[in-house]
Symmetry: C2
Subunit: 173 residues, 2 copies
DNA sequence: GTGAGATTACTAATGAAGTTAGCAATCTCG
DNA sequence: CGAGATTGCTAACTTCATTAGTAATCTCAC
């Protein structure tokens, strides 16, 4: 079997005919709109790639990483909290936590007052061993921040706030 | 059955005892290191959330979105190219493309010169209908860029470059 | 108090999606 | 030309997520 591509003739277009029409619009080196937007896109790509890398290194899947990130950043949380954070069902979250616990990355404990709830906490060593992989980035970002004047930091921070706000506003409508 | 939580007694720790030790280190409003790093992290979170949202809206899974993003940004590509972009196997990529084609989001065409290859192209209307969802963000970012002076744009662009480089450097070792 | 209804975390059954292995067709190049 | 590399795909298997349903617990109007 496998008679693939049996003379399915047809003109395949040229390679890369200015895909997104960027030449025309902006790209005037130094101050164009797309200039910074492209960098933001590239940053997203790198972050995603780094997350895949980190997941492989630490033997944790994407959902597990998101949970661990939340646990480290916001402290112990209940499965329902984590489910909301993941935009996933509580059932899926139960399995994610199962995997994390089995891998020694997190632990479950009963909630002190509400006996329906469970409190998930990151393992002692998690933050340290994760930091081992993340530290190059932290260092790189710190250096980038250090290279800025106080005023420039405020500019960058304000800019990032506006970008975050743009994402927030884009979801609801 | 289901005799869960059968007196699994044990003191569950307090809620949020300064999870990452941020109070101590930095957080001095306005110019701390973490100040900007936190914003970058928040940005990542928002981007991820937006991607889930966009995927739901356009009936495309995460891998499919990554492929479409690549197709729109870099022009038509072969499955092998896309597989590299996804950090996935070519087999998985075949399935991703199958789904995109079935959904009318992309199409396959034989490569003009190399008859082993296949060229995947985005559907005509994809970019437009995707832009419908993305435009609020593009607008928001554009406004944020507009609010900056020429010099500030250069500062932000250079900063983003350094952050991207930090991610690049963090992966190889 | 008490009992109806909401919450919480989990299990079970099913479906969707990725991986490795392997193959046929094609290209490359000594 | 012909050995070896490339390309895209299929097949078998594994993994992960979803929907539906359940037991335990909590809330709160009465």
């Amino acid at each position: 079997m496998n008679a693939r591509r049996a003379a399915a003739g047809g003109a395949a277009r040229d390679q890369r005919p200015d895909p997104a029409g960027k030449d025309a619009t902006a790209r005037r080196a130094g101050g164009g709109y797309d200039d910074i937007r492209d960098r933001l896109r590239t940053l997203t790509l790198r972050q995603q790639r780094f997350e895949r890398y980190l997941g492989r290194e630490m033997r944790v899947d994407a959902a597990g990483l998101a949970v661990m990130d939340h646990l480290v950043a916001n402290g112990p949380a209940t499965p329902t909290d984590l489910a909301r954070r993941l935009d996933a069902s509580t059932a899926a979250t139960t399995l994610v936590i199962d995997r994390l616990v089995a891998g020694g990355h997190a632990s479950r404990a009963p909630h002190p007052t509400d006996r329906r709830k469970v409190v998930v906490s990151p393992a002692e060593d998690w933050e340290a061993s994760a930091f081992e992989h993340v530290s190059p980035i932290v260092r790189g970002v710190n250096e980038a921040v250090e290279s800025l004047s106080e005023q420039e930091r405020a500019t960058v921070a304000a800019f990032l706030d506006r970008v975050v706000k743009a994402y927030d506003d884009a979801i609801r409508p």
